[in-house]
Each structure stands twice: as C-alpha cells, then as structure tokens.
C-alpha cells in the first residue's frame, strides 16, 4: 500500500481527467463525473480537489488562450502527472485485491 491514499473524490477527478484527455478543464471534468459516475458533485469540491491534487504533484495545470465565450478568461487545462498515474494504479490495485472473491457476496439478494 502506498503511504498516502486517494479519497474517493480525488480518485474520481483523476480518472475523469484521464478520460477527457487533452481538453480536460473544469467544465468537462465535472460533466464526465456527472455522466459516468451518475453523481452530481458540488462544483466547488471539484476545484478544491484539483488544487489539492496539484499541490501533491499528482496533476499539473496550465492556462490556454483567453476565450471570448468565457468572458475573456482562459481555460485552465489539467494533465495527470506520472505520480498521479502511479497513485491511480495503486488505488485501483488496492480496490482490486479487496474486491477478489466478493462478487458472489455482492450478487446475493
């Protein structure tokens, strides 16, 4: 087990960035989580999580060019750093190993 673990929302946000790919910024990230995970997460929580992930070096961000549709504000794009990928993998593995053999239990009515 890695020393630090990912909280659930952190995990979801990292996965969302990976799924969206090159064009990952606030709006599609939130949309991806809402669509895939079927949950509407408070927007504020996503921004705060992104900042925390960046502080921990798991993602990095950069500003693009200003966009007129955004009132002249630039998009802040995100990319998952190698450390982030490692963390996602570790979390996935941890979940997987906890998962093993539980399928029948979960399928019980």
């Amino acid at each position: 087990m890695p020393k630090e673990t990912l909280a659930e929302l952190e995990f979801l946000v990292l996965l969302a960035i990976l799924r969206v790919g090159d064009q990952a910024y606030g709006v599609p990230i939130a949309e991806e989580i809402r669509r895939r995970a079927g949950r509407s997460v408070a927007r504020a929580a996503i921004y705060v999580t992104l900042r925390r992930l960046e502080e921990r070096g798991l993602v990095s961000s950069w500003f693009g060019d200003p966009v007129a549709e955004r009132g002249g504000k630039a998009r802040r794009n995100y990319r998952v750093e190698p450390a982030g990928r490692e963390m996602v993998r570790a979390t996935r593995d941890a979940f997987r190993s906890m998962w093993e053999g539980l399928d029948p239990v979960l399928e019980e009515v």
């Binding site: 910024y25 606030g26 927007r43 549709e69 009132g71």
Partner: protein, 914 residues
C-alpha cells in the same frame, strides 16, 4: 449577448481566492452562456446566482473532512495560515454556536440590505452624474418674473434668440417644449404620447447620437418653417420603435400621423435616452419662429445649455443678467415700461439639479433613516459579540494557555468576524437586489431618474465597504473586551467570573442605551411622517372623490366642431349607462395638473396701471361639472346641466378668487377679463364687421366652494370656471384636452372598457390617455409623503424590534447573574413583587438614559423632515410623548419577561446552584 449577472460575478471576483478566481469565473461564464442559448434568460440568471453562491460557500467554508482525519492537536485550535484552512478555526468555533452566527448574519443582512437598497436609489438619483457627455457642463436656463407673480418661468422666443446670439459663457443653448399628441395610423390603435418639440441644437447640447437614421440637421429647420405643406421630421424613442414598429429598421423614412399631421421619421434615439422625461416618445422638429419672436408675451420655452469648459453656472447667470437689458427695443414688446413691469431675471442651474428637483427632500431623510437603522444593527451585533465573549472567556483562556499569541487570537477573531460579515453582506445584497425592484415599483412616479436605478459597482462597493468595516469593528471589539480579563481568574472561575466585571457591564449597558436612543430617533421621525401623511389625507379637498372615474382624452382641434359638439354626444351616451349617475367633462381635474393659467383683470374697479395681475387658473367645463364633482355652490348659480344663465358670458369663480378680488362684497354680476400672459387685452376680429376689437368680458354668475387644486398641501386655488356653451363664452382659446368625469354607483374602473368603446365609435380621432379614479389621483398627490412614511416606518419597526431584543438580552443576562442573590432574598422572605421591581429598576435606568439621549438627537435630526411635514412642528409634543411611551413600554415588556422568570426562582435550587 447576455452578460453574466453583475452581482454574483462581483461576489465571485471579490471573495474567491486568487488562485481559483479566473478558472471558476471562466467555467461559470461558459456554462451560463450555454444556458442562455438553450433556455429562458430568467432561468439562466437564477442558475448563475445559485451556482455562484454554491461555489463560494463550497470553496470558502470547508466541510469536515471525511475519511482519515487529523488527530486533534493544540495547534489545531489556532487558525492555520495555509490555503483553505485559513478560516477553519473560525468555522469550527461558529459551528459550535449556530444561534449566535444566525442572529449576527440575519441582523446584519437585514440592516445592510435595507441600507444598500436605499443607497442604490440615492446614489443613482442624487449622486451619479447625468448620463450625458461631460454632463457637469449642462445647465437648465430659466427666468424668474416677480412682476408676473412667477417664481419660475421659462424663456420667451426673444430672450432665447438674444442669449443665443450674445452669450459667450454658454456654448450652445436649445429650447424645447413638451406636449401630448395623438399618434395614429399603421393599423394600430390611436394613442396619446408625450412629445418634445425641439431643434437640432437640443441634441447637440446633450451630445446624443442616433441608434438608427440621423438626428435633426440645420437644413431641416431652413425650408420654410411653419409652412404646413412641408413634412416635419420626427425622431422616435427606442422604446416606441420597438413597441409600435417592432424594431423594424425600415421605419426610417416612413411617414407617420401625429394629430392628423404627416410627419417623417428620420431616426431613432438610443435606448435609455430619457430627456426631457422617460415618457417622451417622439421628438418633433420645432424652432421658435423669428417672425413672431417677442420679449415676454409667453415665457413657456424650457431651455438647456452647454457651458464652455471652465465656466460655472453662476458665472453664466451673471453674464445673462448683464446681457438682458440690451434686449430693449429689439422686440416690439421689449419696452422700458414692460421690462420694468415684468422684472425678468435669468436663472442658470446645473441640469442635474433641475432634473432632481425636490427628490432630495424625500431621499436624504431615507438615507438618514437607514443610517440610523445601520447603527442600531451595529450596536445590536456588538452586544451579541459581547454576550458571547462572556461565555467564551474560558475557551480563549485555554487557547492562550496552550500557546496562542495575541496575533493568533486576533486573526481568529478577525476571520470569524469576516466570515459572519461576508455572509451578512451576501444576504444583504440578495435582499437589496430584491428590495430595490420593490422600491422602484413603489416609488412615486415623479421621482426622477428611476429608470436609471440599478445595482451597480458603486452599490456593491458600498455594501462591501460597510461589511468590511463591520468585520473590523467586531473583531476589534472581541479583542479589546477580552484583553481585560486576567488569564488565571478566568480559568479558575469559568464563565461566571467574567460576567461579574464592572467594566463589561457598563459596556453592555452603554450599547443598549445607544440602541434605545437610536430607535427613539427613528420612531419620532416616522411618527412625524405618518402623522403628516394622515393629516394630509384628512384635508378636505373641496370635492367628493369617491366613486369618480376620470378619463383624459385628447382631441384634434377642428374649426368646424368645437369641444362642445365633440363631447356632448359622448357624455350623453355615458349618462345612459345604468351604473352612471352623471358625467361631465373638464379641461383638468383637481390634483392632476394641466390647468390653463392667465392673468385676470377686474373691469370695475379697474386695476391701477403698472400693477401686473397675478395668474389664475382657467377651467373649461361642460355644465354640471360642479354637481358631478360634489363641489358646493356658495353663491349665485352653479350652471348645472340644463341650467341657463341670462348673462351672455357667464363664468363661475372659486371662493378664494372671489375673496381676493371682491373683499367684503358679492362677486355676482361683476365683470372680469382674461388677459394674454404679457398683460395685454385679448383682441379678436369680429366675424360680422371684420373689425378687430377686445373680446367682451365675462360676468360672474356663481361662486364655487374652495378646491385644493394644486396639492392637498397648498391652499385653496383661485379658479375661473368657464362653461362650454353655445355661443362660446370664451372665444379666443379652445381646450384640446378634456377629462371626462363620471360619477358611478359601483366600482368606477368597471366602466373603462365601455367608455373606451364609446370614444372609438363616436370619434376615431379622439384619443384616450390616462384613466384613473379620482381616489387614485388624490392618493398619487400624496405619494411622496406615503413613500417616506412607509420606508421610515419599516426602518423603525426593525430598529424597535432590535432594540427590544437588546434590552431583553441585558435583562436576561442580569437575571441569570443574580439568580443566587434572588434565591437568598426569596429565602429571607422578600415578596415576589419586590424582586420583580428590583429587577426592573436596572432596565428603567438604562431606558431613561437612552430616552434622554434619543429625544435630544431627535430634536436635532428631525429638522431635516420639516419641508415634508404638514401643519405640524418637528418637535410636536404629542408625537414626542407617544414615541417615548412606545419605547418605554416596549423596553418594559422586554425586560419584564426575563424578570418574571427571576421571581419564579426556587430558592433551594438557586442556592444550591451557586
């Protein structure tokens, strides 16, 4: 393109941490724009508000961490500096006392919300410059004509040409006048619209560019002005263009029909252009004709001007005053005798002052009122912090003992106060935003610049500044009050130890004294206004307004049919309705404005030469007017329907006019003449002989009871009532606008549709303008007073409530502190009534000081209300007594509630708990 709502956007920029701001604002803007394209705008705005607030709360108020939490440590009790944890300590502390936090936020939000809404009104109307280029150089030019009894008159064509040619301090002068005309054609119903008749200079002064088409040019004025065959150009307001012409650009070049004349639309003015008034819909090219120019035959042109840079209005006025004498001899009536008689004096004032007019008298007291409410709010919240501080002494001492320095504590208090103030500020903005639209809807129509009022950056700045000041004050209060208590004493004694200190008690009571005093000032102010308003409503207007419907109509003047022929059939049809008792028409109903005024001369005894006759009102009426209105006939005949006079030119005068003209005698049978405004006799060509001769004088046949014509405040008006008879009593002027007055048995407004239909059937050129009940006209005439009374009253109830809460708090606190003492007293045999008296004593002392302070302040402050008070002094003893009684009563009830609890103390329990 729809912009993101201003307030949430400003809140986001103001309150989001810098590292998140651009990203979040950008994302929200993007989503908002998407929403405006797919759904209704109102919903998108709501979405923007909801999400902005949600994001702010989410980012600013961190939740309890889920999952593995940090172990509680001593340092965690002290606010951390880093990032989102900055407010964590404060949030935790506030979460422990949600009641306190809620009270602070609600109190601050309500008080500041009211203050912000009123500030928005005052700021736009009184403080912000007019929305024109270099508007500080714009002036209104008027005259005073004391010789004619006119404190304020306009320009004549002659004085306009004179000033225009010679003034150096005024770059451009323009004259205009306002009118109501009928716009018809285009397959739409005819409508009455406000028109401004002005020349090209009018728009040059204001520096306006057209939204569509062009403005008037110098060339427009040249080709034979006053030549009726030429199509006069007009400009449309943006609103009219959108409403009646569907915003069609092809309107430029179209010919439209105004008062049955063809006019050519040459352009559309920009949206929001509202001069001379927001109701002005059409600007028609009009220039004073040089041929008929005169010195003072009619002083009815309004004038505006643009000063040269660096010239003050006072300097311009001095220059015009210097220029005026040289007009002598330039115009026929500019004779030395006439000039000495009229005593014309130019007046130049900033245009903004002219636009604002008397609005300051209504708005400044309101701002003062909410200022007082704000102070009550501050005192109240400070009390809350103080009481809370008493109970928190222990907790703070523990923090200190664990190593928190005073900087740490200050930061903690500051972030706590900031959090509360910010929440209060946001609530205030929400309330103000909502309240402002209510205010604008409720404000009297004559309040100028209402269409400009909105929540702008100034208003946001005001709310933010007050909230920030509040945060600072509360934080400092917390620190100062706390630093006095000794550490060990507090740790030993717990909460009780702090509450005993004498200094604390004085501060606490001092705050309550202030609250009582401020609440009393507000109470006196609003009591004065409410009483004035009530007295105004009880003034006998001289007629019976109940059950009267008034319908203003406009009529295109035609030589072949006079107003009598136009209105008689209409009135006959209206009278045939079952619900109608009687109906009549008059050129202007009381309190609605729009009367004709001319000088009046008594034929015998004649006025001394050189003495100008004062102006009186002339009203045209169809027989039966006095009876329909319920105005009594005090002498002679009332010219009821069917009643004929033997005199050839009969008129009725009001009692006030009869008193002045014929003191001590009867007015009946006396002869009077209407004059032109310049004092000359009315001369007409006799159709039979073709000779020009003075029109015959009127003979007074009746005296009508006094009527409040101008306002309920002003005294009874001097009126000449001229009946519309055949042959015409008054031959030289004809009323074009008449108001139908219908006395009904049921609800007056239920007849409106039928009357409109009758008008349309009988005369398609007649237009129906405002339809109001007489009751509504009376109510509108006191709208200013009501507006102020209602607003002050709401500020007062809020402050009274807060003051009561403050007193209740002090009393409850005292009772709690002295539970043990009370127990001892009761155990030793004290009567419960004695205990109650002892407990009330303290409150009485506090309230007395507050009342004394409040009365002194009220005496000084309510002087500003004087111009709005009606028949009462600002130090009306009955009002002062009643207000004091109400404050004292409220205070006693507020302190009696907890005191009563004290008397129920069970001595055994009280003694044990000590």
């Amino acid at each position: 393109m729809l912009r993101f709502p201003l307030i949430p956007r400003a809140l986001l920029s103001l309150l989001l941490p810098a590292e998140l701001r651009d990203e979040i604002v950008g994302d929200l803007e993007e989503l908002y724009r998407e929403r405006t394209m797919t759904g209704p705008h109102g919903r998108a705005r709501l979405w923007a508000w909801r999400h902005s607030v949600a994001v702010l709360v989410g980012v600013r108020v961190p939740r309890r961490r889920r999952g593995p939490g940090r172990p509680p440590s001593a340092r965690a009790a002290i606010p951390r500096r880093a990032g989102n944890g900055r407010n964590l300590g404060a949030v935790r502390m506030l979460r422990k006392s949600p009641g306190f936090a809620l009270m602070v936020v609600l109190t601050l939000g309500l008080g500041l919300g009211a203050a912000t809404a009123i500030f928005a009104l005052v700021n736009t109307i009184l403080i912000q410059p007019l929305p024109y280029t270099a508007s500080d150089r714009l002036v209104a030019i008027k005259h005073a004509a004391p010789g004619l009894g006119l404190e304020e008159a306009g320009l004549s064509s002659g004085t306009f040409f004179h000033y225009q040619a010679h003034s150096e301090s005024i770059e451009t002068i323009a004259v205009y006048h306002e009118d109501v005309e009928t716009l018809s054609g285009g397959g739409e119903a005819a409508e009455s619209i406000r028109i401004a008749a002005a020349g090209p200079d009018f728009f040059r002064v204001l520096d306006v560019r057209p939204a569509l088409g062009r403005m008037f040019t110098e060339e427009d004025g040249r080709p034979g002005f006053m030549n009726q065959t030429w199509t006069i150009p007009v400009l449309l307001s943006h609103e009219l263009w959108q409403r009646r012409y569907g915003g069609d650009p092809a309107v430029v070049g179209q010919i439209i029909t105004i008062d049955e004349h063809q006019r050519e639309v040459v352009g559309v003015l920009p949206a929001g252009f509202a001069f001379p008034s927001p109701e002005t819909q059409i600007w028609r090219l009009s220039l004073p004709p040089p041929v008929t120019a005169n010195f003072a035959r009619s002083l009815d042109y309004e004038a505006i001007g643009r000063l040269r840079a660096g010239v003050t209005p006072a300097a311009a006025q001095a220059e015009l005053t210097r220029l005026l004498p040289s007009i002598e001899g330039v115009y026929r009536d500019a004779t030395p005798v006439r000039m000495a008689e009229v005593k014309l004096t130019p007046i130049v004032v900033p245009l903004k002052d002219a636009v604002i007019g008397g609005a300051g008298a209504v708005l400044w007291p309101q701002l003062g009122g909410v200022g007082f409410l704000m102070l009550v709010v501050f005192a109240n919240v400070a009390t809350l912090f103080l009481v809370r501080g008493d109970y928190r002494g222990h907790e703070v001492a523990v923090r200190k003992a664990l190593g928190a320095g005073s900087t740490d504590l200050l930061r903690l208090f500051l972030s706590e106060a900031t959090l509360l103030s910010a929440a209060g500020g946001i609530l205030a903005l929400l309330l103000a935003n909502w309240g402002l639209s209510a205010l604008v809807a409720f404000a009297p129509v004559e309040l100028p610049r209402l269409h400009e009022v909105r929540m702008d950056a100034w208003v946001l700045g005001f709310a933010a500044a007050v909230a920030a000041a509040a945060a600072l004050i509360f934080a400092l209060c917390s620190v100062l009050w706390r630093s006095r208590s000794g550490l060990t004493a507090v740790l030993k004694g717990g909460a009780a130890a702090v509450t005993e200190t004498r200094g604390r008690r004085i501060e606490h009571r001092g705050l309550v004294v202030v609250q009582v005093a401020l609440a009393l000032v507000l109470l006196v102010g609003s009591a004065l206004m409410v009483q004035s308003f009530w007295r105004l409503l009880r003034v006998d207007p001289g007629f019976e307004p109940e059950g009267l419907l008034t319908v203003e109509t406009g009529l295109v003047w035609r030589a072949e049919r006079g107003p009598k022929q136009a209105y008689d059939p209409l009135l006959a049809r209206i009278r045939s309705l079952a619900a109608v008792r009687d109906a009549t028409a008059v050129s202007a109903v009381p309190l609605a404005g729009g009367a004709y005024t001319y000088p009046l001369r008594v034929v015998e005894p004649a006025t001394r030469p050189g003495e100008a006759e004062p102006l009186v009102e002339f009203k045209f009426f169809t027989p039966g007017y006095l009876q329909v209105m319920g105005i009594p006939v005090v002498d002679g005949v009332g010219l009821a329907r069917g009643e004929r006079s033997t005199q050839p030119h009969p008129v009725i005068v009001s009692a006030a006019l009869a008193r002045r003209l014929f003191p001590g005698g009867s007015a009946i049978g006396k002869e009077v003449r209407r004059l032109w405004p310049d004092g000359s006799e009315v001369v007409m060509r006799d159709p039979a002989s073709g000779q020009r001769r003075a029109v015959p004088p009127f003979t007074v046949v009746g005296v009508a009871g006094d009527v409040r014509e101008e306002s309920l405040r002003a005294g009874p008006a001097e009126i000449v009532y001229i009946p519309l008879l055949e042959p015409a009593v008054e031959m030289s002027i004809v009323p074009t606008r008449m108001t139908l007055v219908v006395r009904t048995d049921g609800a007056p407004l239920s007849l409106v549709r039928t009357v409109r239909e009758f008008v349309a059937e009988l005369d398609p050129t007649m237009s129906v303008a405002r339809v109001r009940t007489m009751d509504a006209i009376v109510a509108a005439s006191v709208a200013r007073e009501r507006f102020l009374a209602v607003l002050l009253l709401s500020a007062t109830s809020a402050s009274l409530f807060l003051g009561a809460v403050g007193i209740w708090g002090v009393a409850a606190h005292a009772v709690q502190r002295r539970t043990r003492e009370i127990g001892v007293r009761i155990a030793l045999g004290a009567q419960r009534s004695q205990v109650l008296a002892t407990m009330l004593q303290e409150s009485v002392r506090i309230v007395s000081i507050g009342v004394a302070l409040g009365l002194a302040t009220a005496a000084a402050v309510t002087r500003t209300l004087r111009p709005l008070l009606f028949e009462m002094s600002s130090t009306d003893p009955a009002t002062l007594c009643a207000a004091t009684a109400l404050i004292v009563g409220t205070a006693l009830v507020a302190s009696w509630l907890p005191a009563r609890r004290a008397t129920r103390v069970d001595p055994v329990i009280a003694l044990r708990s000590g």
